[in-house]
Symmetry: C2
Subunit: 211 residues, 2 copies
DNA sequence: TCGTGCCCATACTGTACGGTATAGTATGGT
DNA sequence: ACCATACTATACCGTACAGTATGGGCACGA
């Protein structure tokens, strides 16, 4: 029955959902989830609330979409950041530099993820969303660490545990940067990267003695 | 004019401000800052909003009072937790156990501090409030670490840097406990304490080779 | 040409909540 | 006896904002 074409829908504005998600992310990252209303998000995308509700059922769906936007960007950005690294150890170092800079310098990143943690406490969907992302980040770093260990340094036993510890410190660092801005100075950042690298490769600093 | 006395005020309900602060803290810690309104806080203290506004000028002052309540309790609790420790190293370990348990098991602690971090991003008063507390916690741990180093293990160089790294990891741990509840298992907690102790006393684990 | 989904805008509703105005009570000083 | 101050309760206001109702234009297929 019917002809062949006309499968189901015929969306003529497939760009809107991602555009709205991007607008939402930017506003959330600038002002926090609670301080942004749907009118602002719609306006930033060049439409009004009526249109927004065509693409998303409620604010929570927009929040989840903004989270996905963030996750995707993190992954492409970190891949790009380590692309120049020659050795595995160097790639690991570059990844750490990228992450530390994101945490300390990028205020938006800080505000957005802090807000996610807040929402996580009261919303299971946000929780699983972030959990998935965290799993990806952990897998990424575990890969880097094991690659770096194979060539060179002896080996800490459980790479995963080291990575967890490092990522925890990274989150704490993000929070601390909010009230101790002096850690944004280059020398401090360098020391922090060294400290995190020390967590991932404990034995590696046997020869150094200079801070 | 007037006689000498009559200094200033004559509070007949000096218990109300701390009572309200305590009520506020408990509600905030249970439901988050944004999900608690002033009527609830007043009701929990056995009064109404009108009275509440006699003692506190606005919600923000109540929030700051609730923070102070939390800080004070943390300090007395941790002092109590390490009281049984015989050696400095043992006291350090007890402090870590206490902190890790607070972060992982105590959901209220998690929700409250996460909310504080959120508010910190947009309110300078909350920022300095937390900053002061963080300074006290850091000083506390630096004292424990240097005491533990004097007797025994060789020495990591800068105790303060190690403590910062440890506290950052602790914060991250708190957040991670929100979406990976399996780390609340006793064995995991023990491993985490060991990991943090390893951050504070890097050399110390030369003999061990287990787990 | 007419209908039928897609997409968007305008206008509105309901409500939650921070804050205020105001009136009443209890107490302690003189 | 009187009054001022400390405190509490009730009722209300203003506003911000999530979500809805509704209608219009536009493409396309019949």
């Amino acid at each position: 029955m019917g002809t062949m074409k006309r499968a189901v829908t015929h969306p003529s504005a497939p760009h809107m959902p991602p555009l709205l998600a991007r607008s939402a992310f930017e506003l959330f990252a600038d002002s926090g989830f609670a301080n942004v209303n749907l009118d602002q998000i719609a306006a930033r995308a060049g439409v009004t609330k009526g249109s927004l509700y065509w693409h998303y059922r409620n604010k929570k769906e927009l929040i989840l979409a903004a989270c996905d936007h963030y996750y995707r960007h993190w992954q492409t950005d970190v891949e790009h950041a380590i692309a120049q690294g020659a050795s595995p150890l160097e790639r690991l170092r570059l990844a750490l530099v990228f992450s530390v800079d994101s945490c300390i310098i990028d205020t938006r990143n800080r505000l957005f993820t802090t807000g996610v943690f807040m929402l996580m406490q009261e919303d299971a969907d946000v929780r699983v969303s972030w959990s998935r992302f965290y799993g990806a980040v952990r897998a990424f770093y575990v890969g880097l660490v094991t690659a770096a260990q194979r060539e060179g340094t002896p080996s800490p036993r459980d790479a995963r545990r080291q990575v967890d510890l490092m990522l925890e410190a990274m989150e704490g660092l993000k929070l601390r940067a909010g009230f101790e801005p002096h850690i944004a100075r280059p020398a401090e950042r360098k020391a922090i990267v060294a400290g995190l690298l020390g967590v991932l490769c404990p034995i590696e600093r046997t020869g150094r003695r200079k801070t």
